[in-house]
Amino acid sequence: MMTRRIKALDRETIREIERNALAELEAAEDAQALEAVRVRYMGRKGIFRDAASLLGKADPAERPALGKALNAARNEVEESLKGKSFAAPKNAEKRRAFDFTLPGRPAPRGRLHPITRTIEAVKDVFGRLGFEIAYGPEVELDHYNFEALNIPADHPARDAFDTFYLRPGVCLRSQTSTVQIRTMERRRPPVRILAPGKVYRPDTVDATHSFLFHQIEGLVVDEGVTMADLKYVLHQFARGLLGHDVGIRFRPSFFPFTEPSVEVDVTCFKCNGKGCPLCKRSGWIEILGAGMVDPNVFGHVGYDAEQYTGFAFGMGVERIAMLSQGIDDIRLFMDNDLRFLEQF
């Protein structure tokens, strides 16, 4: 290696520079070493630059010849450098082999909660259908949770909606349908909203029941909205969420805030409708409830039920997440066990 600082320039020195440079070049085993050699000789503070700066101190008679020799040496080194840098590393096989089967170093990666993922997936599909997101309070007034939804006090329909009370008249909402009322009170049709959120019911906790879960409510109100529109929108939703070949069917049901009311089944996504334990051999899986907005509900918010019609639908987020991902215990969602969360 060239370590001696050049004090004066003569032919022998130029030859030595060239010799050393080529030797070091030959010895360089990888791109990094090669680059070091390049910088040392050809760089801005490199040896050739040093040598050239000494040219002025040389004997004026010798100067042109020395300049030429230096140039030739520099060109020689430069050419060799070029040749080497494009050549495949000849000594590669000498290096330790890289074990491609070793696990890579993982980059940190967090995950969204499966409930968020499910809500986002549903929001995404309805967003494409022009639905806006609406929110309402979780601590609700009895009026919004029941009366305005056509669920009178002391009615057996309330059995399905057991409720936590903070004090008389103030409760934790037991369904996201409350957002329907709050939205319609605030604005005139057309309305096309989707309302995801938490709901609370004093159920005893087991593998399929929780006191806190999530619902997504949808509402469309305009002139001329029909049940055929409802069927279209829900089928589009089912396709968007579950795939293009999924079918839907309506079964009559009862909800106080819609009339007619239906339960909506989709083709079982496990067996494709052939019948399996998941769908209890029926080929269908219930995923939401829906119906045409009850005229009494319109009455509560001051919409003219003759002028406007509308539909509403609601689904349980946990239920959809559990069915579609084969999760067998609702309690896992609030445990926040990373061994669970990291699966999504």
Partner: protein
């Protein structure tokens, strides 16, 4: 509601298989949850919705089959052969509370022989899970299951005065019911009494003393209608529910009340002998008047998006028991609602549902008249999505924690309010009965789960609501919007890194949201460690808190290593977020970077260093970047070495080395004024 296929066939023989029957019923509003063979019959379990009390009897379900298939509905015989003894001579019924008991009928059957039921009757009851008791009681149960009208049989000879009084309970009265529950009665409850004392809780349960026993000879048969909501309240108040109360609270058919009385009397005579006194004691203040509802065919089309032929609508309504006037003007049908559907049907929309559920939802096409709308996500969604991406990108897992917590935990930390956390009252969650005021306890509990399972390092976040009472504790009254708590969206973080790293995460988040100008300062201790508790201020308002969790709190959550945590006001973040990006031209001139290490007193903060340098107002000083702090050998005690990097640049020219050096010297002098000493 359990029925059997054979039983159903007695009233409507459709010729359909059990599977087909179950499917057709399920698809028209009477969900058959399950079918199972019982002997050579088949059990069918129907899930009956709260609006359809008429389906709580086999006949009601048979009526559905008739409407679905066109097969005729055949009602069983209910005519009775009566004796010469007039009921009016034998007993009397007095209704003192007509609001609670719209109709009461009584029949008297004398000379019965109480004993086991004949096989057909016992078998029928057993098939649907009802235990046979004796022939008289079994008939009352059978007729209830058959038509939905609850009945009660009294041992007539045990009724003091041999008469019935329907009245309100009296404070202090007690009744032992047939299931031997001691019921305390009060004036809110309807009771059946004899001349002296209560003998039954009307519509809920009979009394032990007057029940049918093997020695009973004379039977007073009650068939009545009690007011729905009152039965519901009474049943809940007493904690007593029965097949009777279940039906009464949903509403029964008051016309059928008298029919059921005859039907049961006839069957009692058939299976237990005896003779039926002539007539019925019947108190009915306001006989049923059928409501007339107009169904506009055009409206039905507008609601359903399909034209149901008028003839088909008429056929369906008639088969379901509605009386449709034969002539209709402009496609408007005038429909009279039968008593057995009066609970459910009172409006046009209800009739439309009746027609379409039988006509078939499968006939509704999928058409879209909705206008296309270019929906755009709301601001909240955008901000949430950016925040979630930033945090998951930084390795954080999203948690979903309980909105409830116990009293002590609720008071543990509340960065947003000093008011007492709200409480709800429910037996199901007796301890966790407070609404959270911070997400941090929830994340600590989540961390505990992971530590307990031996899951390694975990960083968690959650964006959710906390419930901030607007007034303290008892002062929260009223049931209007003003008295609801503030529901504030907040974002909480939990990590096991250093506080500086957590601050970095918060800064990354703020940066992702385009929020500048947040200041971090020493905050109130809260549940953090002394000196490691900070506050984030934005625009003069508290944006959040951050710190290292105190050891005592960590111990409470069984965490060996106290984590670092932060909680930010997400609503404030949403308001300040600037998600729209705009391009800044890249610099055309090269920068000169100079690194410095300066030894300063411990109490000199980075903010002071930064300020001293920016106060110089050097036009070419573009950026001051912190490297690290070093304490240790070569640095005197009570001092620290801060390494920083200065970037110099002029927009219009390449700086000369002299310019850069002069600026660097100015910086060094500024730092020396802070007591700094350049480290070589």
């Amino acid at each position: 509601m359990k029925i059997t296929a054979d039983w159903l066939r007695e009233y409507c023989d459709s010729g359909l298989s059990v599977e087909d029957l179950a499917h057709r019923l399920s698809m028209s509003g009477c969900l058959i949850e399950e079918t199972a063979p019982v002997g050579d019959d088949a059990l069918m379990v129907a899930e009956v919705t709260a609006n359809r009390p008429d389906l709580l009897g086999v006949i009601g379900i048979a009526r559905e089959v008739a409407a679905l298939t066109g097969a005729p509905l055949r009602l069983p015989a209910a005519d009775v052969e009566e004796s010469a003894e007039k009921i009016t001579a034998a007993t009397s019924v007095e209704v003192q509370a007509p609001d609670l008991c719209p109709r009461y009928t009584a029949r008297l059957i004398r000379g019965v022989k109480v004993g086991p039921s004949p096989e057909w009757l016992a078998r029928r009851l057993e098939a649907v899970g009802v235990r046979p008791i004796n022939n008289v009681v079994d008939v009352t149960n059978f007729v209830m299951l058959e038509c939905g009208q609850p009945l009660h049989a009294f041992d007539f000879d045990k009724l003091h005065g041999g008469r019935i009084v329907v009245r309100r309970g009296v404070e202090g009265e007690v009744l032992i019911s047939i299931d031997e529950t001691k019921c305390k009665l009060d004036p809110s409850m309807p009771i059946i009494a004899d001349a002296d004392r209560p003998v039954a809780i009307a519509g809920v349960m009979g009394g032990l003393d007057t029940e049918i026993s093997p020695r009973t000879v004379n039977v007073l048969l009650e068939s009545a209608q009690f007011e729905n909501t009152n039965i519901r309240r009474t049943s809940r108040k007493l904690g007593l529910a029965s097949d009777s109360s279940y039906r009464f609270e949903r509403g029964i058919d008051p016309i059928q009340t008298e029919w059921a009385s005859r039907r049961a009397a006839r069957l009692i005579r058939e299976v237990a002998g005896g003779s039926i006194c002539e007539g019925v004691a019947d108190v009915w203040a306001a006989p049923y008047e059928a409501k007339q509802v107009t169904l506009r065919m055009a409206r039905m089309s507008r609601l359903l998006g399909i034209d149901v032929p008028e003839a088909e609508a008429r056929r369906i309504l008639a088969a379901l028991g509605f009386a449709v006037q034969p002539e209709s003007a402009d496609g408007n049908l005038i429909v009279a609602v039968p008593a057995f559907r009066a609970q459910d049907i009172s409006r046009e929309a209800d009739l439309i549902e009746e027609v379409v559920r039988i006509y078939g939802y499968d006939k509704i096409p999928e058409t879209c008249t909705l206008k296309a709308v270019a929906g755009a996500p709301g601001r909240m969604e955008d901000v949430e999505s950016v925040a979630r991406n930033a945090l998951t990108g930084a390795g954080f897992y999203e948690a979903l924690t309980n909105s409830f917590c116990d009293d002590r935990t609720a008071r543990l930390v509340s960065p947003w309010t000093d008011n007492e956390p709200l409480r709800f009252h429910n037996a199901v969650r007796r301890h966790e009965n407070r609404l959270r005021v911070s997400l941090m306890p929830g994340l600590l509990a989540a961390k505990r789960v992971n530590v307990a399972h031996g899951v390694g390092r975990s960083a968690l976040f959650e964006i959710s609501r906390v419930f901030l009472p607007k007034a303290d504790g008892g002062a929260m009254t009223g049931a209007d919007d003003a008295s609801r708590p503030e529901e504030r969206a907040v974002l909480a973080l939990l990590a096991e890194d250093s506080l500086l790293e957590l601050k970095g995460i918060v800064e990354t988040l703020l940066d992702a949201l385009g929020i500048g100008g947040a200041a971090f300062e020493v905050g109130p201790r809260a549940f953090f460690k002394e000196g490691l508790s900070g506050r984030i201020v934005l625009d003069g308002r508290t944006l959040g808190v951050l710190g290292e969790v105190g050891q005592e709190v960590a111990d409470r959550f069984d965490l060996p290593q106290p984590p670092v945590m932060a909680e930010l006001d997400f609503a404030l973040l949403t308001r300040h977020a600037a998600l729209e990006k705009s391009y800044r031209k890249l610099p055309a001139q090269p920068a000169a970077v100079r690194d410095l290490a300066v030894v300063l007193d411990e109490n000199v903060t980075w903010a002071a260093v930064e300020k001293a340098l920016t106060d110089l107002a050097l036009p070419i000083l573009e950026k001051i970047a912190f490297f690290d702090v070093f304490r240790g050998r070569q640095v005197p005690k009570g001092r620290k070495s801060i390494a920083l990097s200065l970037t110099f640049r002029a927009p219009d020219r390449t700086l000369t080395s002299k310019e850069v050096e002069d600026a660097r010297q100015a910086c060094i002098q500024a730092l020396e004024k802070l007591g700094g000493e350049l480290r070589k």
